[in-house]
């Protein structure tokens, strides 16, 4: 009797139809939403708008790639937005005041982000502090540091920042290429390197991974460092997009990133998710909805509510699918 039984029990449901709904329902809803917005305002599907959507999606999409790493370990990082702010402030200050070339500034931004990510990784993997508490703390610290380095003043980026954000290759903004590069890099690391495969293993069964000789602590640490790096990069990209950094830079973006990752297939319970195409699908879906809201002239006050509802539904689907899984 034991031989025929599969041990996998998902909190759901035996019928194939129900399985279809749970796995693909999201896409049907998405289709419906796209149709709705197009009806409300045909400009929604115009090429110009699509490019706008993609440009906006690309910036946060970079962070989504990093968030996949963290979610695969079964953790979370809510400090990414503050991280973006801190990294952007440091590198912009160097750009403006010390004439550091813009390309180098991008690298410095990534380095700052990696630093924050490393702190997260240390406390989570080594000292075993719960991820949301750790990243809540670093969120506060990073924002504080950002305010410190900016002297709480608005930073207006030097011309070179504006030039970068305006660069188009074959009519497509540079940021999109950066995003796709990040997705590609993420995909290669996660699917094609031993580290990546071991990351999935750790997310599935950390104790077991340690037992067979995988360095679980180091693996988890690197995941958070990578997420930080992506946040750092996205921070500088966003600063170039906006040409300025004010005190509300990236506020609330951590939720957009997390919901995009979960919608894109990364489970909060760990061990799941593919960046390609998950990160792209996730951020595009979320961005489309947000963009559609703007175009259909919905009250701007509805934004927050919709974002909250989106993350709620995404997490609920994730929990229904995977919360009861026996590994």
């Amino acid at each position: 009797m034991n031989n025929e039984m599969s041990v996998r029990e998902s909190a759901a449901l035996p019928k194939t139809l129900k399985k279809l709904v749970v796995n693909y329902g999201l896409y049907f809803v998405f289709l419906f939403i796209v149709v709705y917005f197009t009806v409300k305002n045909p400009a929604f599907l115009a090429l110009g708008n699509i490019i706008t959507i993609v440009q906006m999606a690309s910036t946060l999409g970079i962070v989504v790639v990093g968030m996949f790493f963290v979610l695969i370990t079964g953790g979370i990082d809510i400090s990414v937005a503050s991280n973006m702010y801190f990294s952007a402030v440091v590198s912009s200050t160097l750009l403006n005041n010390h004439g550091v070339p813009i390309a180098l500034c991008f690298l410095i931004s990534m380095a700052c982000g990696t630093l924050v990510g490393a702190v997260n990784g240390l406390f989570i993997s080594k000292y075993k502090i719960v991820p949301f508490i750790t990243t809540l703390a670093t969120m506060s610290i990073a924002r504080g540091l950002g305010l410190f380095f900016s002297n709480q003043k608005l930073i207006v980026l030097d011309q070179s920042g504006f030039e970068v954000s305006n660069t188009r290759i074959f009519g497509v903004p540079l940021v999109v290429y950066i995003f796709f590069a990040a997705v590609l890099a993420g995909h290669i690391i996660l699917s094609l390197t031993q580290f990546g495969r071991q990351l999935y293993a750790c997310g599935n069964n950390l104790a077991g991974a340690n037992k067979i000789g995988i360095n679980g602590t180091r693996t988890v640490f690197i995941a958070y460092a990578v997420c930080g790096a992506m946040a750092g990069l996205a921070g500088m990209v966003n600063a170039c997009n906006l040409s300025s950094i004010n005190q509300n830079f990236a506020t609330g973006d951590e939720f957009v990133v997390i919901s995009s990752a979960v919608v894109g297939g990364a489970s909060l319970f760990g061990g799941k998710g593919r960046v390609l195409p998950g990160a792209i699908i996730g951020i595009v879906m979320i961005q489309v909805i947000l963009n559609g809201l703007t175009l259909s002239q919905a009250s701007p006050f509805v934004y927050q509510v919709i974002r909250g509802i989106i993350i709620f539904i995404a997490v609920m689907m994730d929990s229904i699918k995977y919360s009861g899984e026996i590994r």
Binding site: N3, Y200, A201, N205, G213, I214, G271, R327
Partner: protein, 508 residues
């Protein structure tokens, strides 16, 4: 490097105790190169402890280990692996979200030249090749472990060990989830490994298999080596005798009691994938033992009877009345109690005090006042009463946290939690595991006293002597079914163990 020593592995005079409980006494095993050593013994005989010491998970108190003639200090799983020892554990250690191939090679995936990227094609091909070599041809290498049934997962776990360059392979009950065909394949693989010069320790309770495939057989009992001899020089009957042939010298409390009416009935209990129509009755004043080897389903049965795991069919009756809800709360309301086998994780609030643990199942009774305000006086009285009645050794029940108590006292606290509710049916799972001798006797007295009050006890234990000394009846489980029943007066160690290993009595 060729090894010329006769013995691939020698464990000499290994002794180990956990606190005051001695689990291994002067045990020596020797594994000849290129042979299979069958290791048999009841639960708790010391097999797992020996293997854990070899694997570096536990530290031995005395004795030495020689690997190919040289002293070997196990330093943990990685050390064992580096030394060329591979383990196939009973509990699988696979990653359900990765493929078969990835699980096989996760610590050393084949790479593409200098890029450091994983060579997916070669991974799949190597896996396929390895699986084919082992005769496992029906599992695709890119299947996800999570989609495979238990038997196939066990095969992959075995394949993992075979893939490594290990010279010595330890297999702990590798056949529990395998089909007959898979088993045949496994034994073929084992013999192929032997021909390649490897050496295997094969732990199993299926004597048939042990005799068919081992060159030598070693029998452990109560932490001592009874004998290690070539399989040809032994008969099954002799091995059975050695497994259980102890002098029943321990003293158990005698209780003045009478066995009354049927109190507890489990009727046609079914659980998908495990139990089919299990039936069980307990009479007032009875102590019924539930014996079986690991994997027989005893703990799982108790969990079903108490509503911790859901059942797909059947019912539980107390005094002839069926329970409405088979949930822990429903069972408790009907007067049942359940002491789990894992007290640290399921029986105690390990960071709370003795008093808090003692009363935690009685909160409804203590919180009868308005708004659920607790009656502290009553709580104190309860705690004091239990500490005294069960002789819990604590310096202050209100302040001492249970984590710092000895195993025996911890178990008494768990018992207190239930005894204070005066239940009528006790389900006990290994109540004296990890408990020193003195506390054991005290616990036996407690259990005996319960039955004097006309309660019934169902006791799961791996210690046959304990069951024979305490019980009025012994049931034996094998492969998720109750296969035998023995009454007091007709208790026979050998017959019981034979029922537990699933066989009939063979004369050889």
């Amino acid at each position: 490097m060729t090894h010329q020593r006769e013995y691939a592995l020698e464990l000499k005079n290994i002794t180990k105790s956990f606190a005051t409980v001695r689990v291994l006494t002067d045990v020596s095993l020797s594994l000849r190169r290129g042979t299979i050593l069958g290791l048999v013994g009841e639960n708790g005989a010391g097999k797992s402890t020996m293997m854990n010491i070899l694997g570096g998970v536990l530290k031995r108190d005395a004795g030495e280990i020689l690997l190919d003639g040289s002293p070997f200090e196990p330093k943990g799983p990685k050390g064992a692996k580096a030394a060329g020892i591979a383990f196939v554990h009973q509990e699988l250690n696979l990653f359900s979200n990765l493929s078969v191939a990835e699980n096989l090679y996760i610590t050393g995936l084949p790479k593409l030249g200098k890029t450091g990227l994983v060579n997916l094609v070669r991974t799949k091909r190597d896996a396929k090749g390895k699986l084919a070599e082992l005769g496992i041809d029906n599992i695709p290498p890119d299947a996800l472990i999570g989609d495979l049934p238990m038997g196939q997962r066990q095969l992959i776990e075995i394949a993992k060990a075979m893939i490594s360059d290990a010279e010595i392979i330890i297999m702990d009950e590798p056949t529990t989830s395998l089909s007959t065909k898979e088993k045949t394949n496994l034994f073929r693989i084992m013999h192929e490994q032997i021909e390649k010069g490897k050496s295997i320790i094969f732990i199993s309770h299926i004597l048939e298999d042990v005799f068919a495939h081992s060159d030598e057989i070693a029998v452990l009992r109560d932490g001592k080596l009874i004998a290690q001899k070539p399989a040809a020089e032994l008969t099954r009957a002799e091995v059975v005798k050695m497994m259980v042939g102890r002098e029943l010298s321990k003293i158990y409390p005698t209780v003045e009691k009478s066995i009354g009416e049927v109190l507890f009935q489990a009727r046609d209990i079914c659980r998908e994938g495990r139990f089919k129509n299990i039936n069980l009755t307990l009479r007032q004043g009875e102590i019924v033992g539930l014996f079986g080897l690991m994997g027989a389903g005893r703990t799982e049965l108790l969990k079903c009877l108490f509503g911790v795991d859901p059942v797909s069919g059947g019912e539980v009756l107390i005094d002839g009345k069926a329970l409405e809800r088979l949930t822990p709360q429903g069972c408790i309301e009907s007067g049942m109690a359940f002491i789990t086998e894992n007290r640290r994780e399921e029986g105690l609030l390990i960071t709370k005090t003795v008093r808090e643990n003692t009363v935690m199942a009685s909160l409804d009774e203590l919180g009868k006042r308005m708004f659920g305000v607790l009656d502290f006086k009553k709580e104190q009285a309860m705690s004091d009463e239990m500490v005294e009645a069960l002789k819990v050794r604590t310096y202050d029940a209100n302040r001492q946290v249970v984590v710092s108590l000895s195993g025996g006292n911890q178990q008494k606290v768990v018992l207190s939690k239930w005894v204070v509710k005066k239940p009528r049916v006790f389900l006990l799972d290994e109540p004296t595991r990890g408990v020193d001798v003195g506390a054991k006797y005290e616990i036996y007295s407690i259990i005996g006293d319960l039955t004097r009050e006309n309660s019934a006890v169902l006791m799961v234990s791996s210690e046959m002597e304990e069951l024979m000394g305490m019980c009025d009846r012994i049931l034996v489980m094998y492969n998720n079914a109750i296969t035998a029943e023995f009454h007091k007066g007709a208790f026979d160690q050998e017959k019981i163990i034979v029922a537990a290993i699933g066989g009939q009595n063979h004369e050889q």
